[in-house]
Symmetry: C2
Subunit: 138 residues, 2 copies
DNA sequence: CGGCATCCAAATAGATACTG
DNA sequence: CAGTATCTATTTGGATGCCG
């Protein structure tokens, strides 16, 4: 992605190959529709299963359940079960989740500017013109 | 995600709500297994369909084809068809793709450190101990 | 409330064959 | 080479019911 032409073509190619594999690794761990969303919702203070399901719009209990398990296995969160009555179950972010701050920040900034771009594109194209040319923007 | 306690709880909650929606928007546009990978491969200089399919390991022609179409619709790339003989088809990154550099950089850095963490976890746990406790790491 | 099990529908993706 | 079409296999997800 970087484009400093001081570098040889070979160096540049190698750099991109490394990018390809490290980004693939990242996507493998935190890719998918939900993982980041759940972590953000938890950062917001939501700890209970039902709270999370309300926050993360569109997720079903079944999927939330399995995503939480994966997040736990991968060391992002812990599940805490109280011994009192009634038993309450809370999920908490582990420190490792905070290593994602940079990624979340970058995605958020890009998401904001992308949303703006889409809006500009739609209005500049005028209403009812090529309505089929701007997909994937909810 | 940020944790500056100068902010009121209300401000913090609002901040996280905004995060949730902007990250959702970003994931909606560039989420999924392939889009970022294809863009990175193209940054590496790959422009032809078959080249891309070789670079982006695991993608099928059918999926690559449809992903390229979406990337084109969303303004990340252009498809250029030469008029010569034989007809050659090349895909090129548009400037808008470069707005993703920050995201790609963050993901790449995180991917690298995550890979290291996984390796440490595996070796410190010792071989053949809880081999079922570290999933999702290819 | 916080799940898991089951069943079923829908979306996604691979394989293969075929075309300009 | 650069795809498309078709069929099928796999994955994914929703709905429901049950249980501690």
């Amino acid at each position: 992605m970087k484009k400093e032409n001081r570098k040889s073509a070979k160096e540049f190619t190698e750099e991109c190959t490394a990018l390809l594999s490290s980004v693939a690794d990242a996507l493998y761990a935190i890719g998918g529709k939900w993982k980041l969303m759940i972590i953000i919702a938890m950062a917001r203070g939501n700890k209970r299963f039902t709270e999370l399901q309300k926050q993360v719009t569109g997720i079903s209990a079944r999927v939330l359940s399995s995503e939480l398990k994966e997040l736990e296995l991968n060391g992002f969160i812990v599940k805490k079960v109280s011994v009192g009555y009634p038993v309450t179950i809370e999920y908490e972010l582990l420190p490792y989740s905070h290593t994602l701050e940079e990624v979340v920040g970058a995605l958020s900034r890009w998401g904001i500017q992308h949303r703006d771009k889409i809006r500009r594109d739609m209005t500049s194209a005028g209403p009812s013109e090529k309505p089929n040319k701007l997909p994937k923007v909810k």
